[in-house]
């Protein structure tokens, strides 16, 4: 599903990722971890094509990022749900419109959108915030809205960047449960986190990064 081969990403004079090679099969549930600045977010950005590798090649769902036509990028992205570390919610849209946007971009009809958005909001426990604007939400609530937006389109790949950074233990457990359900239905999941509690004793695959290097690929 996702294949990195000798991928390097250098920002100005800063090497965020250095010769990273790994592969992820369809339906896998993988954690990416490492200290602050290790390159976790950069890795996810490369997958959802917000960044381009300086060296090496990346294959996503059969596409080679080297040869991918620019006009194909939106369609590839529609198969990828992303929980951004900084949320990236639109401040001037309600919770409903923020989530619905992911579906409107895909050309869904308003009726189907309505049902799906309500389901996603129920899943993250925030149906009562449907008509609020992001500014009126607590940090954890915003994070859960971001998660709802990422899963509402039923993507084939879900990327989550620190999805529980603003959530208490109970809420975090709830979110992880949702991720596992989605994964059970066949979605490939990558979670970047510094929170070792999330993967400790789960037996799931963990990629350890440090200063841009992939230092370990083991079971949590």
């Amino acid at each position: 599903m996702i294949g990195f081969k000798d991928v390097t990403r250098i920002y100005d004079n800063m090497t965020a990722l250095r010769k990273v090679t790994f592969g992820i099969e369809k339906g896998e549930f993988v954690y990416i971890t490492g200290p602050s600045g290790a390159g976790k977010s950069t890795l996810l950005k490369l997958i959802y094509l917000a960044e381009k590798p300086d060296e090496g090649t990346i294959r996503i769902a059969g596409w080679d990022t080297d040869t991918l036509r620019e006009s194909a990028i939106p369609y590839l992205r529609r198969n990828i749900g992303v929980v951004f570390q900084d949320f990236k919610l639109l401040a001037n849209r309600t919770v409903y419109d923020n989530i619905a946007l992911a579906l409107r971009i895909r050309g869904f009809g308003e009726n189907e959108i309505k049902g799906r958005v309500q389901d996603a909001l129920k899943l993250v426990g925030l149906r009562h915030k449907t008509d609020n604007f992001p500014v009126a939400l607590s940090g954890g609530e915003q994070q859960r809205i971001t998660i709802a937006r990422a899963i509402v389109g039923e993507p084939t790949v879900l990327l989550a960047d620190e999805p529980t950074g603003n959530l208490d233990v109970d809420n975090a457990a709830g979110i992880m449960k949702i991720f596992k359900e989605i994964n059970a239905r066949g979605t490939t999941i990558l979670i970047a986190t510094h929170n070792r509690e999330l993967f400790r004793n789960t037996g799931l695959r963990v990629l350890w990064f440090d200063s841009g290097n992939l230092v370990a690929d083991e079971e949590g």
Partner: protein, 289 residues
């Protein structure tokens, strides 16, 4: 598509305050352009009406017979550049002189007999006003035995041309200048709009929106703003036109009534919409993923 329109309208409404200012700005710009076209239209109108009022006086030689006069009249009536002719007899001429001297007419009281010549006044056609042809006619007339002298406003003729050319030169400059100014205003307005939405566009892209999906609301928004601005500008132009016309009628009847072509008023909103869309397109530039 429907969603794009909704999005655009929502955004217009959501930030209605800022957009009102934008509309006013564009409106003022288009109003100025409307005003300029209005002025040009009327200046053109007035200068092109001038030649109509301009006439050539043909003074006939003393003792020219009626037959000769009639021949000349026929010849002139046929000429394509002549609008109409008017024969002025010796007596008519004296009456006219007396009238034009007004209070000083007493200076004619010492006259024993009428010293004036009969003459033909030629009014030239408005449309076929062409300097070389007018001069050709005048030279032909001067060559005739029955014609004593031809008096025509050579100076006036030249002045009209100079004015018309001057107006055209200034027009070109002013229109160019203001079109550029308006495009600048539209561009800057939309660019600002775009800057304010930079983050939004970034998010749209990351969620998998196509370029068309991102662009459409902006184009609709820019077009709508331009259109509303144009309506405002058109309304302003119309109101000023009524105001000026009122003034002209009451205070300067000699200028005649100004004209505001309705097409111009209608063209402003349309032009505004087009300028808005052009401005939006330029401001959006080349989107990259």
């Amino acid at each position: 598509m429907i969603y794009s329109i909704k999005l655009a309208l929502k955004s217009l409404w959501f930030e209605k305050w800022i957009h009102m200012l934008t509309v006013v700005t564009i409106g003022v710009g288009l109003f100025v352009l409307g005003l300029i076209f209005f002025s040009l239209y009327n200046i053109e109108g007035i200068t092109s009406r001038l030649p109509e009022r301009f006439s050539v006086m043909v003074f006939l030689s003393e003792g020219t017979g009626n037959r000769e006069i009639n021949q000349l009249k026929a010849r002139l009536s046929e000429d394509p550049i002549v609008e109409r002719i008017k024969y002025i007899s010796k007596d008519d001429a004296l009456v006219e002189l007396r009238t034009s001297l007004k209070d000083a007419a007493y200076i004619l009281e010492g006259l024993d007999e009428n010293p004036l010549f009969p003459s033909i006044e030629i009014r030239l056609k408005k449309n076929s006003f062409d300097r070389t042809r007018v001069e050709g006619l005048i030279n032909e007339l001067k060559g005739l035995r029955s014609v004593n002298d031809v008096v025509y406003g050579e100076d006036l003729l030249g002045t009209i041309y100079t004015i018309r050319n001057g107006v055209k030169t200034i027009s070109a400059g002013v229109i160019l200048l203001f079109s550029m100014a308006i495009i600048f205003v539209c561009y800057s307005t939309v660019k600002i709009l775009f800057y304010r939405r930079k983050e939004e566009i970034e998010i749209f892209k990351l969620l998998g929106a196509t370029k068309a999906f991102i662009r459409l609301p902006f184009l609709i928004e820019g077009g709508t703003l331009g259109f509303l601005g144009g309506l405002l500008g058109g309304a302003g132009t119309y109101i000023l036109y009524r105001f000026i016309n009122g003034l002209v009628i009451s205070d300067f009847p000699m200028l005649g009534v100004m004209h505001l072509p309705l097409g111009l008023v209608a063209a402003l909103p349309a032009g505004g919409a087009i300028l808005g869309i052009i401005g939006s397109t330029i401001a959006l530039g080349r989107l990259r993923f």
